[in-house]
Symmetry: C2
Subunit: 348 residues, 2 copies
C-alpha cells in the first residue's frame, strides 16, 4: 500500500511538471529551435509592379509576356548587385530604375496623368540598418524619382521634400533632369481622357488595367544582412489638388528595419496611410512576436480587407523569407534568391 501511495505521489509530481505553462515553454523551445534552423538566404530581392484588377482576359499574350520579361529583367539587375556583394540600397535602386524606365508600370516613364494633364511622381526609400529615409512627392522633371528619394535619404537632413522644392534639391544633387514630356505615354493620356469622360457620365466603363494601380517597389536583403526598401509611383489617374498617396509616406508605402522586415506597398493609398500598413506589419512582428508572413497576411487580407482597402505589399525579413500578399485580383510581382526565382501576376 505504501508503494501505491508513493507511486501516486510521484505521478502527481510528474503531472505538476506538465502544466500548460511548461507545455507552452516546451512549444517555445521547439519554436526557437525552428527559428534557429530557419535557413538564412545569402541574399534575397522581391519586387512588385502594382496590384489591382489584373485579369488574364484583359492582358494580351504579348503584353503579358512583355511585362513578365520586364519583371524578370528587374530581378536580374537587382540580383547581380547582391551577388557581387553590393548593398541592399544599391540593389533596390537599380531594380526600381528598370521598372521606372519601362512604360508598363505607373512610375517614371509610364506614369499616369493628373487631372491637369501632368505627370507628378512620388517615391520613397528606407535603409533598414539606420532607419534613414528619403521621400519626394509631386516631382515632374527628375527622370528617376527613386534616385531623388535616395538622395534625400543620403544627402539631406530632411526625410520628405515636395514638388518644386524637391526638384530643386534633385537638380542640386546632379540627378538627371528631363523635360516633363519625357513621361508622356499615349496609353496613359487616353486613360486620363477616359477617366474625365467617365466623370462626365459619357462612358461607363473602361479597361481596368489602365486605371488601377501600377506603383513599383522593391525590398532587398544583402549579404551583409542589411535590409532596404523603395517605392515609386505616378499616383492615381486624374488625381487633383496635388494629392499625395502612400508611396512617399514612410510607414505607409515603404518601411525597412533590420530587426524586422523591409516592405513596399501598392494599392489604394489613402487606406495604406490610415492603416500605416508597412509599419503595422513590422510592429506586429516586434510587439506581437509574429513571423513576417503571418503579420503581412493578417494586415493585408484581414485588417485592410475588412476596412475596404485594396492592394498588397511585397517584402522580406532578415532571413530572406519573402511574402507577397494582396487582396486584389492580381499583383505584378516576383522574387529571387540564390536558389529560386519566380515571376507571378494572377492569384494562382
Amino acid at each position: 500500500m505504501k508503494n501505491f501511495y508513493l507511486l501516486l505521489i510521484t505521478v502527481c509530481l510528474f503531472a505538476c511538471q506538465q502544466t500548460p505553462d511548461n507545455k507552452a515553454a516546451t512549444a517555445e523551445n521547439e519554436n526557437k529551435e525552428m527559428k534557429t534552423v530557419t535557413e538564412k538566404a545569402e541574399y534575397a530581392l522581391v519586387i512588385h509592379g502594382g496590384a489591382g484588377t489584373i485579369r488574364k482576359q484583359d492582358l494580351s499574350e504579348e503584353k503579358e509576356a512583355s511585362i513578365r520579361a520586364k519583371l524578370d529583367e528587374a530581378l536580374t539587375v537587382g540580383e547581380n548587385v547582391l551577388k557581387a556583394g553590393g548593398t541592399a540600397i544599391d540593389a533596390v535602386e537599380a531594380t526600381i530604375i528598370v521598372l521606372e524606365n519601362s512604360p508598363h508600370f505607373n512610375a517614371g516613364k509610364g506614369a499616369v496623368f493628373t487631372n491637369e494633364g501632368k505627370n507628378e511622381l512620388d517615391a520613397s526609400f528606407m535603409d533598414g540598418k539606420t532607419q534613414n529615409s528619403g521621400a519626394v512627392a509631386g516631382i515632374t522633371n527628375v527622370k528617376n524619382p527613386i534616385r531623388a528619394a535616395r538622395a534625400v535619404l543620403e544627402k539631406s537632413e530632411h526625410v520628405m521634400l515636395a514638388r518644386e522644392g524637391a526638384e530643386q534639391f534633385a537638380k542640386e544633387q546632379g540627378l538627371e533632369i528631363v523635360d516633363p514630356s519625357y513621361f508622356h505615354t499615349d496609353r496613359r493620356w487616353n486613360s486620363l481622357e477616359k477617366a474625365k469622360q467617365r466623370e462626365m457620365g459619357s462612358i461607363l466603363s473602361e479597361n481596368p488595367i489602365d486605371n488601377k494601380f501600377g506603383t513599383v517597389g522593391c525590398a532587398a536583403l544583402d549579404k551583409a544582412g542589411n535590409l532596404a526598401a523603395g517605392t515609386s509611383t505616378g499616383g492615381m489617374t486624374n488625381k487633383r489638388y496635388a494629392r499625395i498617396g502612400d508611396s512617399p509616406v514612410i510607414g505607409a508605402g515603404t518601411y525597412a528595419n533590420n530587426n524586422t522586415c523591409a516592405i513596399s506597398s501598392t494599392g489604394h493609398g489613402e487606406y495604406f496611410i490610415r492603416y500605416v500598413v508597412a509599419y503595422d506589419i513590422s510592429a506586429m512582428m516586434e510587439y506581437g512576436n509574429k513571423d513576417f508572413g503571418t503579420a503581412a497576411d493578417y494586415v493585408i487580407n484581414d485588417k485592410l480587407k475588412k476596412a475596404g482597402g485594396t492592394g498588397g505589399i511585397i517584402g522580406l525579413d532578415k532571413y530572406g523569407n519573402v511574402a507577397m500578399p494582396f487582396n486584389t485580383e492580381g499583383m505584378y510581382r516576383g522574387y529571387v534568391k540564390p536558389d529560386k526565382r519566380e515571376v507571378l501576376i494572377y492569384k494562382d
Copy 2:
C-alpha cells in the same frame, strides 16, 4: 500513515493548481479587474504648444504668464465643446484654432519662415472612430490650416494634399483665405534672419526659444467615447526644398483610434517620421498589450531618445488617461477633465 499519504497527495494536487500558468491567469484576472475599475473620464482633452529647449531663464514672467493664459484659454474652449456634448473632432478643431490664432506658437499666426521668407503651413487631423484622416502640407493662405485638414478628412476622397492643390481645395470648401502676410510676425522674421546669419557663421548662438519647435496639437475624448487628434505647424525656421515634417504625416505626427489612443506629436519631425512615433505607441498597446502611459513613455523616453530624436507627444486613451511625455527641457502642455485641469511648461 494512510492519512499522511492522502494528505501528501492532496498537497501535491493543490500545488499543481498553483503553477506559474495559473498564477498568470490569476494575475490576468486581477488585471482585468483593475481595468474594469479604471474610471472612465466623462470627457478629456489634452494639448501641446511645442517641445524643445524651453528654459525658465529664457522666458520673461510676462511672456510665461501670457503663454499659460493662452494654453488655459485653449483648454476652456475645447472643454466647453465636450461639456456641451460636442464631438471630439469639434473640440480638437476649436482648441487648435485658439492656438493657431495666437502668435505665441509656431502654427497659423506666428508660424516660422522658410529660407525663402515664406510661411508654409502643415496640419493633419484623424478621427478615431472611422480612421478617416486629412492632411495639408505647405499651404500659405488658409487662415486656419487645421480647418483645411478637417475638410480633407470630411470632404475629400484623399488623405493628403500639398501646396497649391491643397489651397485650391480649401478655397473650394469655402474656408477663410488670407493674404500670406497675415502670418508675418516680426519675431519669427528676426529668427529667420538670425538663422541665416548663423549659417554664414556671423553669429554663433541665438535665443533657443524662438528657433526650436512650436507645433501645436490636441487630442480629445468626447462623451460618446470617440477619440480624435489634430496637429498644426509652421515647420522649421529656415526650412528649404518644400520640406514636409511629421505634422501632416498620419502615423508620425497625428494618430487616433478608438480602440487604443489619440496622439499629437511635436519635435524633430524627421525622427518622428522614421520611427512612426504616434502609430508606434498605438501598436505597442494593440500588439504588446501595454497601457497608454507605458507605451508613450517607452517610445519617447527610450526608443526615440536612444535614436537621438528630440520632442514629445500628448495624448489620451479611451478611458481618458492622459500622457504627455517629452525628452526635451520643456513642452508647453495641459489637459482638462471634469475634475482636473493643469497647464505645464517645464520638466518639473
